[in-house]
């Protein structure tokens, strides 16, 4: 049989089609990225018990008034000097870090966890749980207590794991932890500008991120920012790298927690 000659397809209009598609995409898409500060709103708690007052040394209070003038603790910061907030917040976090005596009285203290301490606590809770489970008479209260003890065991186990991770990478036997009451308190007025509020958020974020990045760099050789970005982008996958990064960022976030309280304006 004679070979059929396939006629050549005319591809002259291919460029036109491609141009059309290109222009369509140019028109319907944007280049700019959406970026934002992620925050959580605390859950509503209904209880009659007034919480005990927090000591003043543990609060870093920032107030922004309706003229965008900022008061951070006792100093007044003008809008153009807002970038000094960064170092002030870092100072608040780190002044007492590593100190056991001669602490600055007006700043949050640090607690120093050790493997022995966490192990003992874990063992104590375990013993308590055993005692509760072997009790002869049980009432409604027992179940509640067991639940509480289980939660405590989980918490101490987590702490112990973190301590082990910290010791493994830093070689230190003690893990410095800032007082759990320590927080940044951000107050604003009803007519404070959004831009001023975001600028303060930015400074708080910057201070904490820089501290975390430094710590992560010295412990793991990569920055917290890099690990965090990786986690957000690959959250749906389950790779060993992701699990490792999650553990590492968790440790870093325990060492430098971002505890920000945003207070609803009254006026």
């Amino acid at each position: 049989m004679a070979k059929r000659v396939v006629p050549e397809i005319n591809a002259g209009s291919m460029a036109d089609i491609a141009f059309l598609l290109l222009i369509f995409f140019l028109v319907t898409t944007t280049m700019d990225k959406d970026t934002a500060y992620l925050r959580k709103i605390p859950k509503k708690v209904e209880s009659e018990i007034t919480p005990p007052p927090v000591e003043e040394k543990n609060i870093y209070k920032i107030v922004i008034n309706s003229k965008q003038v900022i008061q951070a603790r006792d100093s007044i910061i003008k809008p153009e000097d807002i970038s000094t907030l960064n170092s002030r917040i870092k100072h608040f976090y780190t002044i007492n870090r590593g100190k056991k005596a001669d602490r600055e009285l007006n700043y949050p203290y640090y607690a120093y966890g050790t493997k022995e301490l966490y192990s003992t606590n874990l063992q104590n809770q375990q013993n308590r749980l055993d005692a509760l489970e072997n009790q002869e008479q049980t009432d409604g209260n027992t179940e509640k207590l067991i639940e509480q003890t289980l939660a405590a065991i989980e918490k101490w186990q987590e702490k112990l794991d973190m301590m082990n991770l910290y010791t493994e990478f830093s070689g230190k036997k003690e893990m410095p932890e800032i007082a759990f009451e320590a927080h940044v308190r951000l107050e604003s007025f009803v007519d404070t500008d959004y831009s001023a509020y975001v600028a303060v958020q930015s400074e708080v974020q910057r201070a904490v991120t820089e501290l975390r990045d430094e710590e992560a760099e010295s412990l793991f050789g990569t920055t917290w920012t890099t690990m965090n970005r990786y986690i957000i982008q690959n959250e749906l996958e389950d790779t060993p790298e992701l699990r490792q990064y999650k553990k590492h960022t968790e440790l870093i976030e325990t060492l430098y927690p971002l505890r920000l309280i945003e207070v609803k304006p009254k006026r």
């Binding site: 291919m14 959406d34 930015s202």
Partner: protein, 172 residues
């Protein structure tokens, strides 16, 4: 006597354009990868606030776990018709109730999705894309409504400051 003979009689050789589609397709693919689709046409004027250390919301957008609320002066019409001069845009409309509508809007959006598609409430981020002059009182009102409905994740939108070292804050 010239060295370069003018052969006026022959026509210029045709330029080979067979690789033109390849070039255009390459451009096309570049734009497809480097850009994101436009969400909606804005109805309010938003000049973004500046900040550093921001989180990129693109992964959240791909998982469609982020809802945008736009706050600012309306582009068309009278700003004084709105409470405090701030119009609030939900998807494609400016609601006359302003910020107080946010609860209903969030619930409607949440209930519209089929049950197997929805993320838990606390994973859905509400992103405030506010103009730099928007007063914070409006946003705190929204925060209260969202808290009561257990939509606990919020985001304050801002644009990356880049190399310049100044926040653009209105002085008074």
């Amino acid at each position: 006597m010239s060295k370069f003979k003018k052969d006026g009689g022959k026509p210029a050789p045709a330029i080979n354009t067979s690789s033109l589609p390849d070039i255009v397709f390459m451009l096309l693919f570049f734009f497809m990868v480097a850009t994101t689709t436009k969400e909606i046409d804005p109805l309010v004027k938003v000049i973004p606030a500046q900040g550093v250390g921001l989180t990129d919301l693109t992964p959240f957008k791909q998982r469609s776990t982020v809802d945008f609320v736009y706050l600012g002066e309306p582009l068309k019409g009278d700003a004084s018709k709105f409470d405090k001069g701030v119009a609030v845009q939900y998807d494609g409309l400016l609601h006359p109730d302003g910020i107080n509508y946010i609860g209903k809007w969030k619930l409607a959006k949440f209930n519209d999705k089929p049950a197997e598609m929805t993320d838990p409430k606390e994973n859905i981020i509400t992103c405030f894309k506010a103009d730099e002059k928007v007063p914070m009182g409006v946003i705190f009102t929204a925060r209260d409504i969202l808290r009561d409905l257990d939509f606990n994740s919020i985001a304050y939108s801002a644009s990356e400051m880049g190399n310049k070292n100044d926040y653009s804050i209105r002085e008074q």
